[in-house]
């Protein structure tokens, strides 16, 4: 194989231009095809992620034909790089290309998919530069490469197009445009070969589901992961952490896990991965006392190793040429590096009851991380390591907990294609509330989770507006590592904040089921309107604002909805931001009902709402079923029975499959779970009647008493 690769490398290197070749597609699962161009590299995203397709689930999705004319997908090796071309019709829109923060429509973009902190511009550098896109025509494309991938999402205008753009005379023709029609998505992978996957629809959401299931399905967090989490100030002591937990309890604020920041370690930046003896003199007892209160601990790390780490000598031969903050960078592709590093985490932390990690600074930015000239002992290039380092850190830390048959759920700053099943939520330091919501939308097509975490705020208004959105997100968190804020820090809104936190807890059965759908069906729990069936947006453009002296090429930009999103199957969330008292909400076709009152809000129309400071506008799809539980301060314990309040909205027949399992272990992997059918219909008398299936014998059953609320009159 190695010899073959050499010969091929030579061949492609020697012929300066190889004419593009139609890509041959091999079915690898129902509605999924693989194409190979050149000789793919031995290290790629899927290998780094360690993911495996959920074949059983994939078989359940309806069959679908290859989604475009195969002649239109072309691969070519030139200049030692792989060029790919996929078709792009005039009315097509594109979504995806990773965790973008400011834009949803990706057609017309030029991106370099490069793992990095988010620098304020959607240029491909982000915490999850997933090389996957979804077309509005209902298919997806994934490039399985751990390289920096250049994407021309409909910008290049080829001489030899079947549907060529038309030249115009700018001197006299007012319809001249600086962006003529491009008939292709063109992609360059800087390696002499790559694997490509196409995911059929028929809808864009179907393509996303297939993509997620192909990567093993989304993560299923423990129930407690969906509760509320507070991250404390960096130099807190164990006594202060316990005091914090007591404060939450006393004030009646829910709390499922507390995050400890760098100060839990004896040294940080670079870290020792040991408890600081002064701040945490008895870690084992401390962790146990917290667990006894039903509060778990999550520990901040960044994986850069201090010379003072107890495993330094063991890991040192297996670290990269360059340091990060003078800490050594483990080559996690090498077993010795993994056993040294994760062995320490297991022994010192997981084994005494720590429940998870926050993995910081595995994204970038360039000024801190290793440069692209760095080398790693495995031979993995610096570039490939950059694209996958977060994924490796997640994967092998998750393994610690998997081996203990104990689910974890943590935070991370980097993910990539293939990492959808890893139990981590992305966060960052960017802290722009509007853009945080756009990221929530884009997380749905990036195969990742994202939290619009709350840190501090300038005003009570900002505080509650941010809090409202974090409650309707994958991780409901205050990150007070620097500010020391608490949920009640803004007294003017403390009671509303408490109500929101309790609402988060009450909705846990819904959130948990939506995550189960992520895992078992591939449906992202949070996504944008483009993935919502029946929602269609015309490609409209704003008028260009031309100041020829300063920008002779100003162009119209595409209108897009980037401030409202779907939270699970039934909820449409339309947050307000600081300074807003009113906003427009675009309701897709079909009836939508107010989540709080059950009143009809609209049907396929744009409504304007003025919800007041206390409320975040949330709408429920006609027939929507939202299972809720009592406002507990902590997630139910493993297999604990909990009463349900099943809410039903609208008038259409209601259908939901409530997920149930023990909530904490991986026994679901061996079938120890059930989906219980919930139905709401009208009886002969015209009254709504709800039914829920009986528990399945031999499966965990946490459903207590059920009450029904038919919300719409």
């Amino acid at each position: 194989m190695r010899k073959k690769l050499l010969v091929f490398t030579c061949l492609v290197a020697c012929i300066s231009v190889v004419t593009g070749q139609k890509i041959n597609w091999t079915p690898v699962a129902p509605g999924i095809w693989k194409g190979v161009v050149g000789v793919p590299e031995s290290y790629d995203l899927l290998k780094a992620s360690g993911s495996h397709p959920n074949s059983e689930a994939l078989e359940k999705i309806m069959q679908s034909a290859f989604p475009f004319e195969t002649d239109m997908a072309v691969g070519r090796i030139t200049d030692g790089k792989t060029s790919l071309r996929f078709p792009l019709e005039k009315e097509e829109q594109l979504y995806g290309f990773g965790l973008n923060f400011q834009t949803v429509h990706q057609r017309g973009k030029i991106l370099q998919l490069h793992l990095d902190h988010y620098g304020g511009k959607d240029n491909g550098r982000t915490h999850a530069p997933t090389p996957f896109y979804v077309s509005s025509k209902g298919y997806g494309v994934f490039i399985n490469s751990a390289r920096y991938i250049n994407v021309y999402a409909g910008t290049g205008v080829r001489k030899e197009s079947r549907t060529p753009a038309v030249a115009k005379d700018r001197n006299t023709d007012k319809t001249w445009s600086s962006r003529p029609y491009s008939d292709a998505v063109e992609i360059m992978v800087p390696a002499p070969g790559v694997e490509v996957y196409v995911f059929a629809g028929p809808t864009p959401m179907d393509a996303v589901r297939r993509f997620n299931l192909f990567n093993g399905g989304g993560v299923l967090p423990p129930r407690w992961g969906l509760g509320f989490t507070q991250r404390v100030k960096s130099l807190y002591t164990s006594a202060e952490v316990e005091k914090e937990a007591a404060d939450f309890s006393e004030k009646g604020f829910p709390l499922d896990f507390i995050g400890l920041e760098p100060g839990w370690q004896s040294k940080a930046y670079p870290g020792t991965f040991e408890w600081d003896k002064n701040r945490y003199p008895e870690p084992g007892k401390f962790v146990q006392r917290m667990l006894d209160k039903n509060i778990r601990l999550n520990l901040w790390i960044n994986p850069y190793v201090s010379k003072d780490a107890p495993f330094y000598n063991a890991i040192q031969p297996y670290t990269g040429s360059h340091t990060v903050w003078v800490g050594e960078v483990p080559d996690f592709t090498i077993p010795q590096a993994r056993s040294a590093f994760f062995g320490q985490l297991k022994k010192s932390q997981a084994d005494i009851g720590v429940s998870g990690y926050k993995i910081d600074e595995v994204d970038g930015y360039d000024y801190y991380l290793w440069p692209d000239v760095a080398t790693f002992p495995s031979g993995i290039s610096a570039e490939q390591m950059r694209q996958t380092f977060g994924m490796l850190a997640m994967r092998y830390s998750a393994d610690i907990f998997h081996e203990k048959n104990q689910r974890t759920f943590g935070l991370v700053r980097a993910n990539n294609g293939g990492g959808v099943s890893l139990p981590y939520v992305i966060y960052n330091d960017y802290y722009n509330h509007e853009d945080f919501i756009t990221a929530l939308i884009n997380s749905g097509t990036a195969g990742v989770l994202w939290t619009p975490e709350v840190r501090a705020s300038k005003t009570a208004e900002e505080w509650i507006r941010r809090f409202q959105t974090v409650i309707f997100s994958p991780m409901a968190m205050i990150n007070a590592w620097s500010s020391g804020t608490k949920p009640w820090s803004y007294p003017e809104v403390a009671s509303q904040v408490k109500e929101l936190a309790l609402l988060r807890m009450r909705m846990m059965p819904y959130w948990y089921t939506e995550f189960a759908r992520y895992h078992f069906e591939g449906t992202p729990p949070f996504y944008g309107m483009a993935l919502e069936e029946g929602f269609k947006q015309e490609i409209k453009k704003d008028a260009a604002n031309k100041n020829l002296d300063e920008n002779p090429y100003a162009e119209a930009t595409s209108k897009e909805i980037k401030d409202q999103y779907m939270a699970g199957e039934y909820l449409l969330v339309a947050p307000l931001f600081t300074g807003q008292t009113t906003r427009k909400v675009v309701l897709p076709k079909g009836k939508w009902y107010d989540f709080y009152t059950g009143e009809l809000a609209g049907d396929g129309e744009v409504i304007t709402v003025t919800p007041g400071l206390d409320k975040i506008p949330v709408y429920v799809k006609d027939g929507g079923i939202i299972p809720m539980m009592p406002a507990m301060l902590h997630a139910p314990k493993a297999s604990e029975k909990v009463d349900l309040e099943i809410r039903y909205y609208g008038t259409k027949p209601g259908y939901y499959k409530l997920y149930d399992d023990d909530g904490e272990t991986f026994n679901y992997e061996n079938g120890a779970y059930s989906f219980l059918e919930i139905r709401v219909t009208k009886n002969a008398a015209g009254n709504f009647v709800g039914t829920i299936a009986d528990p399945v014998k031999g499966k965990p059953n946490t459903v207590g008493n059920v009450t029904w609320r038919f919300m719409s009159k």
Copy 2:
């Protein structure tokens, strides 16, 4: 050779990590060494530029030893790319890496040197991403590659450093820094080999001189190129152009050449490169009438070819795969493409008397230019073409004029390492006045010329402030292609603007000599304080402004002087910007005198000046000699005798070598030029006495009557 390359390519591709090797240096000229790492590519910057070292001039610079310990320069081929490492001491500052617009100090930067329009951030993407840097220790380094080059200018922190950075505990140590000391400039060239050059000092300016002379020396423009130029509105007719010239003449404003914008062509974007028959019915007669008035014409082009161009069929087989504004992109490395394209320019324009070109949009940006997946028939990659396209367009258009033994001087949007002798000045659309000045500083270390062109202004104040700086720049221009402004468009300052334009003309002997020094000695005519001998700036840092919630890593930034510059050997220019009435000027060691009054301004100190709206502060070095001529409205004709007023400032013995030649042809290449020594000394009576050498027999002599002005009392 080809076979050898193949074998080598295989070798380096197969060994995943080749340990770095000390680079071997071969002297190639006095104080210049070449190092070869791997197998350099056959197409590089120097080959694209067509430049040849000016060996004669290089021999004249003093010898100098290799400037750093040779062990400290290391090359390595990994992952098909070349990594380079050069030493970086703790107190070293770096300048260069191309035409940056916002920063002068480059230490601590990460750049990808990528030819592009300037996007508002010094990230390596610019109109001249010259892979050349100068160290404050007095040497320069040039990477001769037409690839996108990654530069880590002292950011990567290596495990195996001789002078390792020290780890600190961020938890408790307040001196923790997010940017620990890096001991190297690390560079990655995405090709399996590269040529590298080192240029000795002893001063930074000496290194720059050697670099420029190695590339053939700077351009020597025709005298008329240093006069005033106006670019007219795009759809002007020949009658309107003639009217414009008449207006200049009538109002007494100088004018040497007029620029015609896209409307001179029958079609543009893409272009036909033919005169528009309606707007320019008799181009030959029109051009001649203008020449008769001593006004030359410069024509806008961008080299993207319309199907309606008369040479379309001839060039079509030699264009790239992708179009720019639906125009085809000539592969100028192919002779047939050159003869079709430049043949048209010669026949239709140069041969009827057109004097030069403005070559637009050869820089970027990505949304208009060919993508990196494009191919060109020569096999030159899209990336290499991007890095050199402007240089190729300049080179071969300059050849038209060289063949006619007629100098040209035009405008361009892209240059690169090797292109210092090409007769073009860079401009762009960015239009930030402050940043335009910083670019003027950086042009001096980038081997390029840059003009802070004037377009339009919001106020008369802005107009005159911009005008003041363009007068002290390589090209004194109003670019009114869109706005239609004239020098007198702001009546409140029209008389001052006229005085400035006339000052530009009066200073022509000085400017012309300074450009001759650029050509014959390599000294850039415009440069920053870092290249000024005796000027030393401490590496001071501003205090970091930390808001940990929004940026946990905010770092101190290096203080730098980026708003004053040297204009030739003797003048320090300190512009004011809109809104400023006063400013600080940093005067290097030695006495400096006010350019206008001759009064002592200061000596090695920071002065504060309030010059009023009419004046741009300009200071003359002690002993400075500024040769001036009468305020003519057009540059002198070839070999026309012109009276001189020789100004002398200060008290030190004055020395200057006044350059003289015919001002229009390339006869200077065959020795038809002279440098006439000018000296000012004090005689026995304590009075200043000036002398100028007699004209050299057989050489052009344009010196008429000489008068002396001893400016300082």
